[in-house]
């Protein structure tokens, strides 16, 4: 009881505990801010990846696998699976409007199924917006201007249909969608929005020529793919010009700068993965057989007596689970379904043990692991720095106990036990920890919650821009504080104080009461 009374009085009448409290406050707030921002960064990254890939996937790269529509239907019949999307994933070369040639990842998709699995529609950049982005304070975003609404709506529709009319012939052609960073024709502002550039280039006469180039309106690329036959052997490279109907921004630079999304049937044809018919060499008859033409009565080469149909193939099947499902659960379901599918099509599709069935996390394991390790590293470094609070509290308590030596003697003379005296200081440490950590959590939460405003203010006032959207591909700093993290940091803050008070408390308990009373 006397511990509670003295704790209360020491807390309100001494300067030193305020210093200890301030140390705990700063430590707790620092850790919480760091953890929340880094954790938010990781979460945003993961969510972006999931948006692009879905929960799990089945893949047989390069050659691809057949009967994918049947597999897709069987997957979608499962109550835990919401959608599946057959996709062709390959690499190719693109020649850009400025004649640059870049290696690019190509995804051949069917818009309807791809949108159901990945949220692709939300990533299309050129579309009308009702209100500007929070950071676009200068209102430079072309997508907000009412005058641009009709054309942006057209870009959006064309993007969703993956087609664009040819300006000369009026024919509607299949079109691709480029990552917004691929062409270099868009400038990303500090507000996190993109503005189209009007680049120039040298002419043979030595002048500069301004390129009126805006990809969704009149931009096209030349795409070259190297196809493989069904046995995996490379065949001749295939090229075609592909109009661009829109651009997308996923938030992951690696994707936005190196990806082309194109209609699946176009890519299938280019890669010769579409349905093909050939003569069965084992069927009766041969190449030199003749037959009588009933119209003319003349002999002519005989028509093939038997054809083999090679079904169309895709390299990947993206799968999204119903809300509440986990990627691991979806992967297990996909494994079961594929096993039954492979049994039905034995010899036509890859063996269940060979095919790749994994989650989106597995696919991006390296990138995710890197960010997780960075987060852990930063936390460890800050943790070590904040651990010095233990020594600070220890030093403050050591000093306080020296100052309060006589009080300890008085309490012992009144009958206080050694454990009671030790508990007084431990309790005092815990009280400082609770107050300091509570203030730290509140401070940390306030800072994280307003971090973008604070950051903007720092930028405007001091010119200090740490989170530059031109460098980090998320426009805003993540500002979510997870209650579990706050609880862990709070507990650690309190424990820091108790730990710092522990040795001084032991010292106070071991003090000789007579010497304590005579202390001056």
């Amino acid at each position: 009881m006397y511990q509670a009374l003295l704790t209360r009085r020491y807390l309100t009448s001494k300067l030193m505990p305020l210093l200890a409290m301030a140390a705990v406050l700063l430590s707790v707030a620092t850790i919480l801010i760091t953890w929340s921002v880094m954790g938010g960064f990781l979460n945003t990254l993961l969510n972006s990846g999931r948006t692009l890939i879905g929960d799990a996937y089945i893949a047989w790269p390069n050659v691809g696998f057949a009967h994918y529509e049947e597999l897709s239907d069987r997957l979608e019949e499962h109550p835990r699976i919401e959608a599946a999307a057959p996709v062709i994933e390959t690499y190719g070369m693109v020649r850009l409007p400025d004649d640059r040639v870049e290696l690019i990842q190509v995804s051949g998709v069917d818009v309807e199924s791809y949108t159901r699995v990945t949220g692709f529609g939300d990533t299309l950049w050129w579309k009308p917006l009702d209100k500007p982005a929070r950071k676009d304070k200068q209102r430079r975003d072309l997508r907000v201007a009412p005058d641009n609404r009709p054309i942006l709506q057209r870009f959006l529709d064309q993007g969703m249909a993956m087609e664009r009319p040819d300006p000369e012939t009026g024919l509607v052609l299949p079109a691709g969608i480029l990552g917004i960073e691929v062409t270099g024709l868009n400038y990303r502002t500090a507000g996190g929005i993109y503005l189209p550039l009007n680049p120039t280039r040298n002419t043979p006469t030595g002048d500069f020529e301004s390129l009126e180039m805006f990809m969704p309106r009149n931009g096209s690329i030349s795409l070259t793919l190297l196809s493989l036959d069904s046995t995996g052997k490379p065949t001749d490279p295939v090229s075609r010009v592909m109009p661009i109907s829109n651009e997308f921004q996923s938030g992951i630079y690696e994707v936005d700068s190196k990806t082309l999304i194109a209609p699946r049937d176009v890519i299938q044809k280019m890669l010769r993965m579409d349905e093909a018919r050939r003569i069965d060499p084992d069927a009766a008859g041969g190449a030199f057989d003749y037959e009588v033409d009933p119209d003319t009565g003349q002999l002519r080469p005989a028509a093939p007596k038997a054809e083999i149909v090679d079904p169309a193939r895709v390299t990947t099947l993206l799968i999204r689970g119903v809300p509440g499902s986990t990627p691991e659960e979806i992967r297990e379901i996909a494994e079961e379904i594929y096993e039954a599918f492979a049994t039905r099509h034995a010899g036509e599709v890859p063996d269940p043990f060979a095919i790749q069935i994994a989650t989106w996390e597995d696919r991006n394991r390296t990138m995710i692991a890197a960010v997780k390790k960075e987060t852990a590293l930063v936390l460890v470094i800050f943790g070590i720095i904040c651990f010095t609070t233990v020594f600070l509290v220890l030093a403050i308590f050591w000093s306080m106990i020296s100052e309060k030596t006589r009080d300890i003697g008085i309490l012992r003379a009144l009958g206080a036990s050694t454990a009671g005296v030790a508990w007084l200081w431990l309790r005092y440490g815990a009280a400082i920890g609770v107050v300091g950590a509570t203030l730290g959590v509140v401070t940390g939460w306030l800072i994280v919650h307003n971090i973008n405003g604070i950051h903007d203010w720092m930028g405007e006032t001091f010119g200090l821009v740490i989170w530059d959207p031109r460098v980090y591909y998320f426009v805003e700093i993540p500002r979510e504080v997870e209650p579990v993290k706050a609880a862990i940091v709070f507990t650690a803050g309190v424990m820091t104080c108790v730990l710092g008070a522990f040795i001084p408390a032991l010292r106070s308990a071991r003090m000789d009461p007579v010497k304590s009373l005579r202390f001056e």
Binding site: L414, G415, D512, L517
Partner: protein, 276 residues
């Protein structure tokens, strides 16, 4: 009273009996003997003054009697030391027993008051009860303890100072708060270490009056250390401590013998404290 003391000693019924008490402190590596086989007995309700010069070991003796310190163990064929209080040998008591002894059976008053500066007057007094009864015990008796503390403080003329801090009090007031704190748990014995040593004569006299008035009402046993002959005169019996030894054995001499003519003796006792 002297006859009572002798009788108590002979019959072995002394309230406090100290025997073969040795105590040596160490200054660095140098042992400094303070008490050399001290013998003392105090009867219930008796007021005994331990008189001695500075360094004679009187405070050490008081600390040992109050369970704040432990005597040296028996060595070199010396008999085992004992401090028997009301039949219990506190020289052989464990830590918990000593804590209980200090919180239940005795009350300390120190020369320098030793109040807790962060607490109010009332809290300084009740803190003793908090220690004695523990958290839950005190919660149950809170009202009773507060009432007793108020009554004690009012009896010492401090009823209007309950909410003040010790820094706002005079020396005499602080010592009266310290006495109230020592008495809050209704101890059997009051151990006073130079209770007037830091006060002027008038204030010191008033403090002694307060102690003796309380003793008169309750029959409290008082063991008081002083170097002032005049103060010692107000006790029932005076035990002189010289170089760590009791002069003339543990019984001491009755007060009033060779009484000085000046000082805080009976002549200045406003309250007429009993001098038997």
């Amino acid at each position: 009273m002297m006859a009572q003391a002798d009788q108590a000693e002979e019959s072995g019924t002394a309230f406090l009996r100290v025997e073969h008490l040795h105590k040596t402190y160490k200054l660095g590596r140098v042992p400094v003997p303070v008490l050399h086989g001290v013998e003392l007995s105090v009867n219930k309700g008796e007021c005994v003054a331990i008189l001695g010069a500075s360094g004679s070991g009187k405070s050490t003796l008081l600390h040992l009697c109050g369970g704040l310190d432990r005597p040296d163990r028996a060595r070199n064929g010396n008999p085992r030391p004992s401090i028997v209080f009301d039949g219990k040998d506190i020289a052989r008591a464990g830590k918990r027993e000593l804590d209980r002894y200090r919180s239940h059976d005795v009350g300390f008053v120190f020369q320098f008051y030793h109040l807790l500066p962060e607490l109010t007057v009332l809290e300084n007094v009740t803190v003793g009860a908090m220690i004695r009864y523990g958290r839950f015990g005190y919660m149950a008796k809170r009202g009773e303890c507060n009432e007793r503390a108020r009554a004690l403080l009012e009896s010492f003329g401090l009823g209007h100072r309950l909410k003040h801090r010790s820094s706002q009090l005079s020396g005499g007031e602080r010592q009266r708060v310290a006495i109230a704190r020592a008495l809050i748990n209704d101890p059997e014995m009051l151990l006073a270490d130079e209770p007037t040593g830091n006060l002027d004569r008038n204030t010191g006299g008033a403090i002694l009056d307060a102690i003796f008035e309380h003793r008169e009402r309750t029959g409290l046993t008082v063991l008081m250390v002083t170097h002032d002959e005049a103060i010692a005169e107000r006790a029932d019996r005076v035990v002189r401590l010289v170089d760590g030894r009791v002069e003339g054995g543990g019984s001491g001499v009755p007060s009033g013998v060779d009484r000085p003519e000046s000082g805080i003796g009976a002549g200045q006792s406003a309250s007429g404290a009993p001098v038997r």
